[in-house]
Structures are given as structure tokens and as C-alpha cells.
Symmetry: C2
Subunit: 492 residues, 2 copies
């Protein structure tokens, strides 16, 4: 087809890469592993940011900003953390370039070597907890509820736009509390915020759970996550919320005087989502014709395409359309009127289909005579002829709501169909190979068995689900006792 | 005094540093030259961002995101640009750390040396123009109007919170146009956007002008700027807008097919403001008691402090205050009710004075009986007793408007008083030493004379003003002909 998208059924991975580029979401830059987020892609990310930021503020958090650079020695302060993050990172060793006296062009000035190397932050626990030490003295300073929107860098060898890039954008919340209970409640609250956002804004159902020991955040006591299922049957971790215990408080000596005058270490959490959500959004809903963007995150919710053969018709349509635009905007709907005469209507139809605009209105000379307008929805591709009257804005508004829920319902149904139980390892492998999706199975709780399953099948434990009744059983691999089923999948 | 702020008249520089820290705007981090922007400071920055971003979008710009890292070779592509930016910068040379086998802790892995060093962006012209090369083919792709909100790094030896830090936050607009005229119009339009924002939101009058050859942006044909005057008589450059000519288009080979089918280089602009604006905001309005934040940028516009001696009074006041809060919020006013019993009213009064909250309401048992409320404005420190009735919200709203204009008028008057003309070099030096401020004087247009004045007096040419009638004269130093007066000042 004209858009040059391969079908999902033919090559899902190629389809994704092509779509991200062709729909103007992002592209690779000249710097290995770093992407350029293009204006259209960024406008969706801005909607995601705004939605999440409002929810963070509604739960009492404020934003702040901490340095991009972390002194090398900070990374070593928390033993597990350094294991997880000190490996693949961008290291700043010098602070000046100079012109080579031997004609070698611009070179690093050997005189300008830093005494201690700086790491471009892969995550900011260390630099933030070193700051919190000065911010927290007494219980009156707690809880401290801070979030940061920032760029972070993790040197990745294999990168994919949005899903895994060396530099990415994210938010990271870092909170400090007087009691363990309060920190646990915060950890779960932010997991719920992420789940609500994913389901209500992104129209993606999520599975909430705990990570296993081997998959949890380096430096956390517990890592909670939301897991989503993509159209190719692979899982994608969309957000994590960590209960840090007193690990970073101890590493950075952050104590507070409690109400009884006792000095105690504080309790911490951290939680984050990133531009990876953009990848989830694309892979959860889009189709062979292009993006499908849920109305709540669509930069353009309604596009109006005029069908005209000459200037007179063009003018007559514009005259009719202007009050419609106003009516829609007054109802809080973002609308674009594509009146260009440099492109044909068919080209425009394909373009906005590719960009995933939820609703397309088309209006031509016949419609002017009949007082009608063609309404096409992106999700089902249904078209209807509507009467042009003062009910239009309210009907469009309802249609946008309907598309939003339909996308969620469709994704939920897809997940239900692609969720299975395996009572034996052979059945597990069968399902994994033939169908993919989420597989519930019993596991003995050991890292050894987890590793063996991963090596043999490439499936990982996505999470220990927290919203299902725990029924004991026996590990599908070793036959040892299992407290409850866990969820496996191949994952991004 | 209790807040521990030195008076401006005693030590302006110390007053500024202390105020920024004590009012919870920012503090130094453990990383040399990098600051932490604290929650209260960041909430003001968010208001600045939102205000500017709305204006950028209203003038047709969209946001995007480009990589943090720039390959070293890119910097050399534009000859002037490399001179200006390749010197003091953060250089990434390696991509991995490892544990030293000889027990030296975490060290840079010598095996993980980058083939080409990466520079942490000091500004993004190079990486953006290398991207534009692929985005621009024909006149249909123009104009390209893109902005980015980002962090940038320029290695600074002497840093001051907000005014000069190694890492800072900013926005950088980068546009491409088919004609020189269009690019020039864009350059001036964005200068006007900055000027309007500074005057209407920040309540700071600005002087618009052109930079001299020696002060212009490395890589630009012309640099326009807005210059502001601080309370100590020193100037602060608050924003710049650059006409890039075809310099970057030529350096990165960005051509387009025009309507006639001819291949031409495009014309460019770039423009930016940064967290430096926070410094300007503090220094323009604040006083010996603390910050004075203009209502349009105040995270808290109105604070309500209850005066109570016991629980009953506290409850009775809260009951009275709740509908007031609702009334104010419904009028779009951000309000905080500080009901804490852990701090005395006097402490709270000082605290919100320090934080620059524009309006403080106080209400105690007498007010309950009399149906009154005490209204104190931060700018003039006037207090009045107002009747508690349903006109309160509208009166407060008017008061906020009045404070906003009063701050602007006051700053404008200050600038008028501190703007002088010098018709001789000796008079120039006199004014500079005795009064400071902006000094209009004739200059022969040469870099030599400019340098000499700078060396002898520390004053620089802030700009060649563009909104005054150009009257010729003779250079105050050399007596050579001068086309018009230019504006000198000592500057931040």
C-alpha cells in the first residue's frame, strides 16, 4: 500500500519500526542509541506528561530538578544499586576541547581532566538522597514528596525507538517517609496512579504485580510493576514503583528526629515511567493502516477534510465549517481543518489514518445541499452520514468517549483471549510457542528455576500478581511447592 | 533579623545568594556548578514555562526533543560556532565503568572508549540542523517552527545560582525558512514574545536591541536581545533571538526546492531563554524581607493565616474560611490555607513574606465577630481591614492585578531614574561609578573601542537599541563618528 507499512501479521517488528518513523513519532539520530522525538510524537508525549503530572500533583507531589551529573563515588554508596547501574553508562572525564597543535582538529584537552569522573544520570536516587540529607531533620519535614521530569542515559547496545534507547525521557518520583507503612502505602498508591493512567488515558489494561528478586530494581526492597500485553503476544513493562526500605537512607545517612525525639532513618520510595509508554501506546492499538491514538491522548481529536473541485466550493465549505470548528472547540475538542489545495482528499484521508486521528469529518458540495457531514471513526473504520445541526458537538464528544472505551474494551478482550494457565512445563512451552501472551503457572520461588525457564524458553516472570487470590500448588518445572501462580511471558 | 537576610544596601550579592537559598528556590549541589532547583523554585519555573510555551504555540511553534549528546565533529562544522562553544564543555569519552581488579573501587573501563567523543549539548544548533537536512526537501516543508525544552551544559568556572550554572534548563527555538525576510520577521517576532512575557508576566521592563559583533551568538548574523536592569544598577540579559542567515544551512547542507524548482539553502533562526530568568525575577522585585513574586507567576497567590488560641477558635475560623477558599478558587486564584498549629501566626507571616506570596489574608476571633478580614499586600506591605462579603473574590482578583501592574510600574520608574546619557568619557565613568544603571553614549562602532571601555571600566555594550530614533554623534572615547547612541552597563 501507499503508506509502505508492512502488515503486522507479516513482520510485527518491522511494522512497528516503520510506523514510528512514518507517522512522525520519532527517528534515530546520528548519535548511537539516541532518538529524535519528532513534533507529532512529542505532542502525544506532552499529553501523557500533562495527564500524569496532574495526577502526581493531586496526590500531593511537587516537581523539582536535580543535576544531570552524578559523581562516580555516589554510585558505589548503595551496594546493590552500583551493581545495577554502574555498568553501561556515559562517563564524562574532561571539561574542555582544544584545537590540536599538530593539525588534528578539535581534540580533548588533556589538561582538563576531571579529578573525579561524572556519570550522566541513569536514575537519580543517589544524587537525590545526598540532597535529602540536608532537607530532612525532623518529622516535620516528612513526608517529602518530590517528582522530577528529566532525561536519563543508560548505554544500550541494542536499541529500538521508544522501547529501548540510550537516552530517554522520564519522570522519577522520590519520596521519604517517617514510617515503613507510610512508604509502603505510597509505593502502592503510585502503582495505582500508573495503572489508572494506563487504563483511563492510554486505554491499555494492566496487570499489577511484584517483581521477583532477580527482576527488581537495584537498591529496592520490593519492586511493583504494571505489565501490559502487546498485539504480538509479548509483554511490556509500562511502569515501576519501588519500596526502597531504608537502603538509600542508610547509604546517604538520612535520619530524622521523630515525635519522641528519637533519631531514625527515613523510609523511601521511587517510581517512574518513561517515553517507553509511547511504544506501548503504538503497539497496543495501532493497525496495518497506521496509528490508532486514544482520544484522551490525541493531539488532534477531529480532522475536517473538505471535498472541493474549485475555489467556489472551497469557500462555500469553509463558510459552513467555521461555525462547526467553533462549536467543537467550545466543547473542548481539538480540531484541525485541513483546507490545503496542495493535496487531494484521498491523500489526506490516508495521512490522518496513519497519524491515528480518532474522528475524521468530510464535507463536500452534496453535503452542503443536504445539510449532512460524513463521520468516520479511526478505531472501527465505520462511516456514517450525520445531519449537520447543533447537536453535532455533543454527538462528536460522545463518539470520542465511545472510541476511548472501545479501545480499552478491545485491548482487554485481546488480553483475556491471550491469557492462559499452564499446569505443566510442556504445556507451558506449547502455549508460549503457539500463542504467546500471558501464562499463569506455578513456580517454586527460586532464582535457579526462573533462570532455567528463561534460558530454555526466553520467557520471564513478568510479575507475581497482587490482585488475584493466592492458590498454592506445585512448580511446573521442579514439582516443589509454590505459594501462588505467577505470570510468565516473552517480553520487550 | 530572624530570616537572616543581609540588607540589599549592605551586600547585594550576599542578599541574593541567601534569598535564593532561604526562600527555597535553589541550592548548590555536590556537583560543581550544578544546582538543585527546589520545589518552590521549580513551581515558579513551571509557571514561566507554561506562560512561554502557550505563547510559542500561539505563534505556530511545536515542541520536539533532540539528543543530549553531540558528536565532537559536529561542533566544528560551523566555523564561528566552534570558537564559541567547543571550549568549556562536558566531554563523554567512555561508556562503561568496572570494578578495579587491583581494589581501586569503581574505575572507568579503558576497553569502553568511544571512537568519537560526545559533547553534552551547550546549545543544539548542530544536532538540530543535521536533523533538518532530512526533514526539509521542498518549500512545502517550510517554515519549520520547532522548540525544545531541555537541559544544557556549559562548563563554567565561576557559578552563581540561576545566573550562571554549568547545567541549566532552557528552551531553544530553531526555525527554518524559505526566505531571508521571513527569517528576519521570525527573529523579531520571538524577541517581541520574550519582551511581552518579561513585561506582562515577570513585570520587568525590557530594552530591546542588537548585540555588537563581539557579543553576538557564535554562528549568528545578528543577535537581538532583551536587557533588564536589576536593583543594584547592573544589567541582565534575559533572552536572545538570533538571525542565523544561511550559516547552519550551509554547514549542514540544508537545501530546499523552491516553487520555481530551484535548489536553495534555507534561512534560520534560533532563540532562547533559561532558568536565568529566575535570577532576574528575584533581583528585579524582591526586598530586604524576601521575595516579591508577581501574581501571574506566583505558585500561591493568596495565603490565609488563621489567628487562634484554642481548638474551638481554630474550628470556627476554618468553617468561615472554607467558603472563602472555594470562592477564590472558583475565580481562578490559587490559595493556601495554612491551618497548622505547629507554627505561630508571626512565624507564618514572616515565612510567606520570605516566599513572596502577593496577598496574605489573616482572620481571628474579632474578625469572626465583626465580619472582617485583614488583607496585606506583599509589594507595598499595606494592610487593610475588609468586609467579609461576596465581593471578596472580585476584590482580591482586582488587587492581584493591581499588584502586578504596580510591580511593573515600580521597576519601570527605577529604570527611568537609573538611565543616563553621557556625552563624554569622563562623565560616563562618573555615572558608572556613582550611579550605575543604563548609560546611553556614542561609540565609534569598533571592537577596539568596545574592548578598551570594557577593560577600563568593566562596562559592556548591552545593546544597540532598536526602538529609539538613531541620532548621529561622535564617539565619547575616540571622537570618531557614531551612527547612534548605544547602551552601556555593568552586567551579570
Amino acid at each position: 500500500m501507499a503508506k509502505g507499512l508492512v502488515k503486522r501479521s507479516e513482520d510485527y517488528s518491522q511494522w512497528y519500526n516503520d510506523l514510528v518513523k512514518k507517522a512522525d513519532l520519532a527517528e534515530n539520530s546520528a548519535v548511537r542509541g539516541c532518538m529524535v522525538i519528532k513534533p507529532y510524537g512529542f505532542s502525544i508525549w506532552e499529553k501523557i506528561q500533562r495527564g500524569l503530572d496532574d495526577m502526581f500533583k493531586a496526590t500531593g507531589h511537587t516537581n523539582a530538578y536535580f543535576p544531570l551529573f552524578i559523581p562516580k563515588s555516589y554510585l558505589s554508596r548503595e551496594a546493590d544499586h552500583v551493581e545495577g547501574f554502574a555498568k553501561e553508562c556515559a562517563v564524562v572525564t574532561h571539561y574542555r576541547l582544544k584545537v590540536d597543535e599538530n593539525g588534528g582538529g578539535l581534540i580533548v584537552d588533556p589538561e582538563a581532566k576531571l579529578e573525579e569522573e561524572l556519570i550522566v544520570r541513569p536514575t537519580s536516587e543517589t544524587v537525590i538522597w545526598s540532597t535529602y540529607k540536608n532537607w530532612i531533620q525532623s518529622y516535620r519535614d516528612l513526608p517529602l514528596l518530590v517528582n522530577q521530569w528529566a532525561n536519563v542515559v543508560r548505554w544500550e547496545m541494542r536499541t529500538r525507538l521508544f522501547l529501548r534507547t540510550s537516552e530517554f525521557l522520564w519522570q522519577e518520583g522520590h519520596t521519604a517517609h517517617a514510617t515503613k507503612d507510610e512508604a509502603l502505602i505510597e509505593t502502592r498508591q503510585m502503582l495505582d496512579v500508573y495503572a489508572t493512567f494506563a487504563e483511563e488515558f492510554m486505554a491499555i489494561p494492566v496487570l499489577k504485580g511484584l517483581k521477583t528478586e532477580s527482576e527488581k530494581f537495584a537498591g529496592a526492597e520490593d519492586t511493583y510493576c504494571i505489565e501490559t500485553l502487546m498485539q504480538d503476544g509479548k509483554a511490556l513493562q509500562a511502569g515501576t514503583s519501588h519500596f526502597l526500605g531504608q537502603n538509600f537512607a542508610k547509604a546517604f545517612d538520612v535520619k530524622f528526629l521523630d515525635r519522641e525525639g528519637q533519631l531514625n532513618f527515613v523510609w523511601g520510595t521511587s517510581w517512574g515511567v518513561s517515553t517507553r509508554l509511547m511504544g506501548a501506546l503504538v503497539m497496543a492499538h495501532s493497525d496495518d493502516e497506521g496509528l490508532v491514538v486514544p482520544p484522551k491522548l490525541a493531539p488532534i481529536q477531529v480532522v475536517i477534510v473538505p471535498i472541493f473541485k474549485n475555489e467556489d466550493q472551497r469557500d462555500a465549505i469553509a463558510e459552513k465549517v467555521n461555525p462547526i470548528i467553533k462549536q467543537l472547540q467550545d466543547s473542548g475538542i481539538s480540531v484541525k481543518f485541513d483546507n490545503r489545495d496542495t493535496q487531494k482528499p484521498g491523500w489526506k484521508f490516508a495521512e490522518y489514518e496513519l497519524k491515528g486521528v480518532p474522528v475524521r469529518l468530510a464535507i463536500g458540495p452534496n453535503d452542503l445541499e443536504n445539510g449532512t457531514i460524513e463521520v468516520a471513526r479511526r478505531d472501527t473504520k465505520e462511516k456514517q452520514l450525520w445531519e449537520l445541526n447543533d447537536q453535532l458537538a455533543i454527538r462528536i464528544s460522545n463518539l470520542l468517549d465511545e472510541i476511548q472505551s472501545n479501545l480499552y474494551e478491545k485491548a482487554l478482550k485481546f488480553r483475556e483471549i491471550n491469557t492462559h494457565e499452564a499446569d505443566s512445563y510442556s504445556k507451558f512451552k506449547d502455549i508460549l510457542e503457539s500463542k504467546g501472551g500471558f501464562i499463569y503457572a506455578h513456580w517454586d520461588g527460586t532464582t535457579e528455576t526462573e533462570e532455567r525457564i528463561k534460558e530454555e524458553t526466553k520467557a520471564t516472570i513478568r510479575c507475581i500478581p497482587i490482585e488475584v487470590k493466592a492458590t498454592p500448588g506445585h512448580c511446573m518445572v521442579t514439582g516443589k511447592p509454590s505459594k501462588q501462580m505467577v505470570v510468565f511471558a516473552k517480553a520487550y
